[in-house]
């Protein structure tokens, strides 16, 4: 079913919107949540919650990309879940990914006082636009879809170590870019 048709099911309050969403994007969302949380059961709960949240959001929201809409909700739910159960240190995947992302944060205490998520997202998008497609896709796969370094390396026929170095360079580049942008602000 086309995305537009699924959105219309939501608009018309047809309960089949949920099953159609699940059929088309369920496995992708499950994969993303699983990548982040490393637990099938927790991922499943995130995905089920994704459909419920979508049901509440559409309408009035009309997503530009249904895939991005669902995955974003799943990612945020996965983060909430991580926060709630952080003390247990169960989510190794999430820990690793967040630690990697920490490396991209520019230094300077003023940053955390002012910058908002949407503004930061805009900066990251502009940085991604300037990258070569291969690097851009690698970054988004790793930090948006939560694909493991091992899988990314296999997809590009590289060793895990080479891929880790590549990602470290990308993170360093992003940090420089953010630092520069921030200094200009």
């Amino acid at each position: 079913m086309e995305d537009r048709e699924i959105i219309e099911l939501y608009l018309q309050r047809e309960e089949s919107a949920i099953s159609e969403s699940s059929q088309k994007y369920g496995r992708l969302c499950q994969h993303v949540a699983d990548n982040v949380l490393g637990s099938k059961e927790d991922a499943e709960e995130c995905v089920n919650e994704t459909w419920f949240r979508s049901w509440l959001k559409i309408p009035p929201t009309i997503p530009e990309s249904l895939k991005a809409f669902f995955v974003s909700i799943t990612r945020n739910l996965a983060l909430d879940r991580y926060r709630a159960l952080h003390a247990e240190k169960r989510f190794v995947q999430m820990e690793i990914m967040l630690d990697e992302l920490e490396e991209c944060i520019p230094s300077g205490s003023s940053v955390e006082e002012v910058i908002e998520a949407s503004e930061l997202s805009g900066l990251i998008c502009r940085w991604l636009d300037d990258l070569q497609k291969e690097d851009r896709v690698t970054f988004v796969k790793r930090y948006y879809y939560g694909v493991s370094v091992k899988e990314l390396a296999a997809a590009r026929a590289l060793s895990e170590n080479t891929m880790a170095v590549k990602l470290a360079r990308l993170r360093a580049d992003l940090k420089t870019k953010l630092q520069k942008e921030w200094n200009e602000i």
Partner: protein, 484 residues
């Protein structure tokens, strides 16, 4: 800034970046690109078929003309009665062949939803053939049966038709206002509804919703496949100038028609139409509740350019579609929770659609050829072999449905199905009665056999079987809950 903020910011990445990185999307695109060559090959093959039959028909015409000329020269003698002579007709200049249209089984497979994520091309093979959704209607009572099936019917291909932005905006400006007046809304009440306007899946749309809690009214303008639509919805029941319209779940068609007379006149007068024909359809819900929805089309049958009785629903270029619903049930925002005696057993008007085609149907559905249809006996053979096609093919859903034995089916009908690829082909639909519900409506399971002879049928279904093992594994892993 914390690392979690970074994570949240990445959650808000632009959708094009997100789409670009999705591997499955890329694979699908690659497949699409590769598939384009195959499609051309199929088309070329069809062209070769057409040329072959043009050749055969032309040669036959010459032979026939020669024989006719020779016969004319002979002295007339009394002839003994013989069987009906073979008639070879001239080739129709519109491209309709006497019997020369050929389709590949894979073309039909492409018509239906595919679940590529489950590594399946089409789930409907022997294994899943007998499974289908129950539907609520009685082919005998609805006047579809008994019916004589034709020998030939055209096969259509939908054309890609879109409207220009100005046409959309003209329609939008006119029908927002008409819709507002019809619903008895003030301009101030309408304004918050006009909150989006833009492209969605390459089609224009505009509109929005107002209200909170259990009362949410929306007004949208949609560009459809071949049409523009005004859609007014309130799943907590539409209030037209404060008044709600309802039907009884037990109303027969004649009662519904007479009850809707006043409302139909009101619509016609307000929107400047003169629709006198009414078509009524009843459907069950996904949870197999007896009667969930009544859909009604108001239209003018004589005005349609497509006079083909084998479409399941009427095909007018302009119509109103009215949806009457029962309470949506727990969990839905539109649950109206009206437990009054007055509301019991009633379906309420929740949506009005006014639809107008961009192009007439004779432009939109272009005849590809006139196909010789299988006889019912031939179709039964296809059914027994499991050579059927279908719609929803999610293995989880299919496996959760009860199997139905179609060996002694109750009814067979013939009507067109339009596929995802725009191909519009006649199918035989075999019905098996499941049970009679409390409202005495019969519930049937249905499965579909392509009514046109197909090339490469056996090979296609053999190939499909190979895709099934993976689906079987998936079902096993997911562990389907028992259906109570």
């Amino acid at each position: 800034m914390k690392k979690e903020d970074m994570y949240e910011a990445i959650s808000m990445l632009r959708s094009d970046l997100v789409e670009e990185a999705d591997e499955k999307e890329q694979k699908a695109e690659l497949k699409k690109e590769n598939g384009a060559g195959e499609k051309t090959a199929v088309k070329n093959k069809k062209r070769i078929y057409l040329m072959r039959y043009v050749g055969i028909a032309a040669s036959a015409c010459i032979v026939f003309a020669g024989i006719a000329a020779y016969m004319k020269m002979q002295p007339k003698q009394p002839q003994p009665p013989t069987e009906a002579p073979l008639i070879i007709t001239d080739i129709d200049p519109s491209g309709i062949m006497p019997d020369g249209y050929h389709l590949e089984a894979s073309d039909i497979g492409e018509m239906f939803e595919q679940t590529e994520r489950d590594e399946m091309l089409n789930a409907l093979t022997n294994h899943y053939v007998k499974i289908s959704y129950p539907i609520l209607f009685d082919p005998f009572q609805s006047g579809i049966l008994p019916r004589k099936f034709p020998d030939y019917l055209p096969v259509y291909q939908k054309q890609d038709i879109s409207c220009d932005q100005k046409a959309f905006e003209d329609f939008m400006n006119l029908y927002y206002e008409k819709g507002r007046e019809f619903m008895g809304l003030t301009p101030a009440e309408l304004m918050p509804m006009i909150e989006t306007y833009g492209l969605q899946d390459k089609k224009l749309m505009a509109g929005g919703a107002v209200g909170t809690g259990d009362h949410r009214e929306s007004m949208y303008i949609f560009e459809r496949e071949n049409g523009l639509e005004l859609q007014i919805t309130d799943y907590s029941r539409l209030r037209i100038n404060g008044e709600m319209i309802s039907l009884s779940a037990e109303d027969l068609d004649d009662v519904i028609k007479s009850e809707l007379n006043a409302f139909r006149t009101k619509l016609n007068e307000h929107f400047g139409t003169d629709f006198r024909d009414i078509w009524i359809s009843r459907t069950s819900g996904s949870d197999q509740k007896p009667l969930q929805k009544v859909t009604i089309l108001l239209y003018d049958k004589s005005a349609s350019t497509l006079q083909n009785d084998y479409f399941e629903t009427p095909m007018p270029e302009e119509y109103y579609k009215l949806s009457f619903n029962v309470n949506q049930g727990a969990g839905a925002i539109a649950d109206w929770e009206d437990e009054s005696e007055e509301a019991a057993g009633r379906l309420y008007l929740t949506q009005i659609i006014y639809h107008r085609a961009i192009q007439s149907y004779d432009q939109y559905l272009q005849v590809q050829g006139k196909a010789k249809l299988l006889t019912v006996e031939e179709a039964e053979e296809m059914l027994s072999k499991g050579y059927v096609f279908g719609f929803h093919s999610c293995p989880l859903c299919m496996a959760s449905q009860p199997e139905v034995d179609f060996s002694e089916y109750d009814a067979v009908t013939l009507s067109y199905i339009s596929g995802k690829n725009g191909l519009t082909v006649p199918f035989y639909h075999f019905y098996k009665k499941l049970e009679q519900d409390s409202q005495k409506l019969n519930s049937y399971a249905v499965t579909h056999v392509c009514a046109v002879a197909l090339d490469g049928l056996e090979e296609y279904f053999e190939e499909q079987k190979l895709n099934h093992p993976s689906a079987g594994i998936m079902i096993k892993e997911i562990q389907i809950p028992d259906q109570e």
